[in-house]
């Protein structure tokens, strides 16, 4: 080859390389999409913006569940410089070992990304740290919100929030590890309303994951939608008063507004301050509470099942009236009890024979044994009679869940015929076999909520609205009122004689002393639930005023004996407080408040 021609070889090599570059550049810049995606994945990060959780107020607009700012102390290990451990120990209250342990944990997670060093510091704790935090590079605070309960009451109703579990994360794509979710009570059942909707902010990050600004001026961001505020049916003043009354007692108070089915208070004792299950101390406190022998986490109002005792006689009377085996003037005799098949079901001394009104006010056992037997025997077989009877009972919301709007409700127990078939064989049981049902003992199980609801039915003369704890979501009615109405199958006129009997209970019967005002007529019924494990449970149900009922209350006090001694006064105090706003019987109030029935 001629020397001059060698330039073509050289030019060809130059051109070949340039062409190779042009082709390769075209391929990665124009044809291949993966580099653009990778670039986006590297530099654009979606950051969650957490909405504030909805606030819960009581029926009078008082805030009972509030949010307060809390702070997570975060650390980015890469930015941490050597620091004065002693001063840091003082600041955080941690010992040296756990500081090192937490730092190592953060390093293991990532050297460039922030991780939690101390979670959920309360405002006052953070303020103490905040001033000196600048001395410790790499540490900074992240705000989040915590729940606060200004009234320190109604923990079982309100529930609490906790970190979401893996199971929930798997089944509901909304949740991510580390999120918080309502775990019980209203917090749980209204979770979707309360939590709001998380927003997403797209930001640009540098190679060390530091945020460098908004991506595309925030065009793709979605705004966080704050949680909806709830208005509860609870009257927090009444709730607190109820909790005061139940101090040092074991039991429950449930008050319902009959007209609406709204629960005015739901008191349980033993109980706890809901603020205990908030923030950093939650898991620790939860452990302590769950191991407490008094079982403060137990929601008695929904989950404890007691026999209804003598209060059940009201149902017997109503069913007897409806079935036509009883009228106002039906007399039965009672000579110290009800005698059957050579056995006796005892009764206290009172005048005999007696009619319906007196049978209620004096709470005669024999009278209702007769009524129960008459109802069952009115049908060809005991079983069909029992079925009819049971159907009537079930209409009062017993033996089934009422469907209250918080989780954990117990069904209670009104046995099916099959239940007795199993015990006594089919056709081998008669009214007398199960005679203790007539006075509300035996196998019956009723929750305090069901009892209060039953009281509400009496106040309404035959119907009720499904009891509920939340009435407004974001200012709008939470339920269509009409959908809540349920009726019993007892005619309305049959209620009047029974209610007259309940009125007599207060005026001259077993509930004397409950009447607190000249103007307000109260109707009630005592009960004593026999308890095979110890002293009987004291029960009292009542509603007032008689002709225009505003409140229906059921009170259970465990292991303290007769209904009239503890449950009745407590019940009347609740009604008095709700209707008049004050207590005019300081001696009764004092006796109830100071009664310590737990520790004796």
């Amino acid at each position: 080859m001629n020397l001059d021609e060698r330039k073509y070889v050289i030019l060809a090599i130059f051109a070949a390389i340039a062409l190779l570059f042009l082709v390769k550049l075209f391929s990665i810049q124009v044809l291949e999409n993966e580099w653009k995606l990778k670039s986006a994945r590297l530099t654009e990060t979606a950051k969650d913006i957490y909405p504030t959780r909805g606030i819960i107020s009581d029926r009078n607009g008082k805030v009972i569940v509030d949010n307060i700012a809390a702070f997570d102390l975060m650390v980015i290990p890469r930015q941490v410089k050597e620091f004065d451990t002693l001063a840091f120990q003082e600041l955080t209250g941690l010992d040296k070992e756990s500081i090192i342990q937490k730092l190592n944990k953060a390093k293991r997670y990532s050297r460039y990304k922030a991780s939690e060093f101390l979670a959920q510091l309360k405002g006052e704790e953070y303020i103490r740290i905040a001033e000196d935090l600048s001395d410790f590079p790499g540490f900074f605070a992240r705000t989040r919100t915590l729940r606060k309960y200004p009234y320190q009451s109604a923990p079982h109703v309100l529930g609490y929030i906790g970190e979401v579990g893996q199971k929930k994360i798997n089944s509901d794509s909304y949740y991510k590890s580390g999120d918080y979710i309502g775990t019980s009570g209203i917090e749980r059942s209204y979770e979707k309303d309360l939590r709001g909707k998380r927003g997403i902010e797209f930001v640009l990050v540098d190679v060390h994951n530091n945020v460098k600004g908004k991506y595309s001026n925030g065009d793709f961001d979605t705004v966080a939608v704050n949680g909806l505020d709830l208005e509860s049916t609870i009257d927090i003043e009444l709730q607190n008063f109820g909790e005061e009354l139940m101090k040092n007692k074991r039991g429950s108070i449930v008050a319902i507004e009959p007209e609406t089915g709204e629960i005015l208070c739901m008191v349980n004792n033993p109980s706890y301050d809901p603020n205990l299950l908030v923030g950093r101390v939650r898991s620790e406190n939860y452990k302590v509470l769950s191991q407490d022998t008094l079982n403060p986490l137990f929601n008695r109002a929904l989950q404890a099942q007691y026999p209804p005792g003598s209060t059940f006689k009201l149902i017997q009377a109503l069913i007897g009236l409806e079935e036509g085996v009883l009228n106002e003037n039906t007399y039965h005799s009672c000579n110290g009890g009800y005698y059957f098949s050579g056995r006796r079901l005892g009764c206290h001394p009172h005048r005999s024979p007696l009619a319906l009104n007196y049978s209620i006010s004096t709470s005669c056992n024999a009278y209702y044994c007769n009524v129960f037997k008459d109802i069952l025997d009115n049908y060809p077989t005991t079983e069909t009679g029992y079925k009819v009877w049971r159907e009537h009972v079930a209409k009062f919301g017993l033996g089934e869940k009422l469907g209250i709007d918080i989780p954990g409700e117990a069904k209670g127990l009104v046995p099916q015929p099959a239940y007795y078939d199993r015990y006594y064989q089919k056709g081998r049981w008669k009214a007398h076999t199960i005679i203790s049902l007539s006075i509300g003992q035996g196998e019956l199980g009723v929750t305090p909520l069901q009892m209060a609801n039953f009281t509400s039915i009496l106040a309404n003369r035959g119907w009720y609205k499904k009891p509920h704890l939340v009435r407004k979501v974001n200012g709008e009615p939470a339920y269509e009122e009409e959908n809540l109405i349920l009726e019993t199958d007892i005619s309305k006129e049959h209620y009047e004689p029974v209610i007259e009997g309940m009125y007599a209970v207060i005026e001259k019967g077993t509930g004397r002393g409950v009447r607190f005002s000249e103007d307000i007529e109260v109707c009630g019924k005592t009960g004593t639930a026999e308890n095979p494990h110890g002293k009987d449970h004291s029960i009292f149900i009542a509603f007032a005023p008689k002709d225009d009922p505003k409140i229906a209350v059921a009170v259970y006090v465990e292991n303290v004996g007769f209904g009239s001694t503890w449950a009745a006064p407590i019940n009347s105090l609740v009604i008095e407080k709700y209707l008049t706003g004050e207590i005019n019987r300081p001696h009764v109030e004092k006796r109830m408040l100071e009664g310590d029935l737990l520790h004796n």
Binding site: F21, K36, L42, T43, V207
Partner: protein
């Protein structure tokens, strides 16, 4: 003398000058974007890399004017002393230099530094041009044949290789093997100067066969349940290629050259297989240089036993990553991977000046120096990166055109040196940012931040412009 120039712009080559200025200022803007500090927004702020680069640009243009004022003959005269001076500098830097990134290649003066190896390129370019144009004393031709293949060369070639080898050796001692590779550029000069016809072709053959060997070195194909190594097919391919080329060239070769042609073809084939064998040996050298026991031990506890091998572990890793045998985006491959993301995400039009997200947020290491091409690719897109490639190609072509219009062999050879040096920098630097070359840290002329390289590259252009402007005056 047909025509005499009037002043320094008489025969000034404006196309080369303009493309030089374009590259210079486009480069400066990209350094601004790549190392932008939001507290120092002015492009003239001398506390930042872009401000410093502006000073270097001024100095370089100043040097350029100074060069234009000189008489062109002085470059030939000074070539040997200047070469000697750069060799002394290279020795001095080994003794007194500053260690940066593991190589003793810098003299530091305050916040500025100079790199003698950059000046060595210029010295070598001048001295090679000088010797090729004037010839060597005691020149002799050597001519013999082995196995019927005639080998002939002159002692001039040995002397030239010596001139190139001396600075190359000193730079390897720093050690800065990347810069040493730039001296390959002079192979093009020697080729054009009348040397190395066969070696150049052999070099090309070696590159092709070497790349193919490394591509197939870990592959194997199942044929009838027999595992056949991929390299077996490479050998098969070479044999087939030799047979076909003999058969094919038979038609075009005059009968009296046919025996020589067949011999050449077979020799090429044998050479190709030998190159393949050598590549294989070097790549797997630890298999041949160690006993079986040592190999087994090393397999069990790789950290304790040190095997004898030609390639260091990280060399082998870079080769593996380049040829796709290993996907390592954290260690060796990290730079290239990030660089490809930056360039690839630029799309056609790019993300806009100073709006490259990977550039801005420092995702690519050494962005203002070795990986400056990422900024171009990301912020200016394919339009920008293709423009840079085309500008460089234009510059290379222009330099060759200038070279070929010289009557002076010195100027022509100097021009070829300049073209070769720019070409190697261009090829290796851009090639590594888009994953076509292994990562070798050498700058992209006029784009990478750095004073020494900019001054030397500018000086080369201006010396060439000066010599070219005098092409009609004197014959050197």
């Amino acid at each position: 003398m047909v025509k005499r120039s009037n002043g320094i712009f008489g025969e000034f080559d404006f196309p080369l000058f303009i493309v030089f200025i374009l590259l210079l200022f486009f480069g400066w803007f990209n350094i601004y974007s790549a190392s932008l500090n939001l507290d120092h927004l002015s492009i003239f702020d001398s506390s930042q890399e872009y401000g410093k680069q502006f000073i270097w640009i001024c100095v370089s243009i100043g040097i350029g004017f100074f060069i234009m004022l000189l008489d062109g003959g002085i470059f030939k005269t000074l070539s040997i002393p200047f070469y000697g001076f750069t060799i002394l500098l290279l020795i001095a830097v080994l003794l007194f230099g500053k260690k940066v990134n593991g190589a003793t290649s810098w003299f530091g003066f305050g916040s500025f530094g100079i790199q003698p190896s950059e000046f060595a390129k210029l010295g070598l370019a001048l001295v090679i041009a000088n010797f090729i144009s004037d010839g060597f004393p005691f020149s002799q031709k050597i001519d013999f044949s082995i196995f019927g293949i005639r080998i002939h060369f002159s002692t001039d070639l040995l002397a030239l290789l010596g001139l190139i080898g001396l600075p190359a050796l000193l730079i390897v001692l720093q050690p800065d093997p990347g810069t040493m590779l730039v001296f390959l550029a002079f192979m093009l000069v020697l080729y054009r100067g009348g040397f190395l016809e066969t070696p150049l072709y052999m070099g090309l053959l070696a590159i092709i066969i070497g790349v193919l060997t490394l591509l197939f070195i870990h592959s194997s194909v199942d044929i009838l349940s027999l595992e056949v190594h991929g390299l077996f097919f490479l050998i098969l391919g070479i044999v087939l290629f030799v047979i076909l080329s003999i058969y094919f060239f038979n038609y075009f070769t005059p009968p009296r050259f046919r025996t020589q042609m067949v011999k050449n073809a077979i020799a090429t084939g044998i050479l190709a297989v030998l190159i393949m064998g050598c590549t294989y040996f070097v790549y797997h050298s630890e298999r041949f240089l160690n006993s079986k026991e040592e190999l087994v031990l090393a397999e069990e506890s790789p950290d304790e036993v040190k095997l004898t091998s030609i390639l260091k572990k990280h060399h082998k890793q870079r080769i593996d990553v380049l040829f796709g045998h290993k996907k390592d985006i954290h260690d060796i491959g990290y730079n290239v991977h990030q660089s490809k993301i930056a360039i690839g995400s630029g799309g056609i039009k790019g993300k806009g000046f100073t709006d490259g997200t990977l550039t801005k947020f420092k995702y690519v290491p050494m962005q203002s120096t070795d990986f400056i091409f990422c900024t171009i690719g990301e912020e200016w897109g394919y339009l920008g990166s293709a423009l840079v490639v085309i500008l460089f190609l234009f510059m290379l072509f222009r330099i060759i055109i200038i070279a070929e219009r010289q009557r002076s062999v010195f100027t022509r050879m100097f021009a070829y040196s300049v073209a070769g040096i720019f070409f190697i920098h261009f090829t290796i630097n851009i090639g590594m940012t888009i994953g076509l070359c292994p990562v070798i840290g050498i700058p992209l002329p006029f784009f990478s931040y750095g004073g020494s390289s900019l001054m030397v590259f500018s000086a080369m252009i201006f010396i060439l412009l000066k010599l070219d402007s005098e092409r009609l005056d004197i014959l050197r």
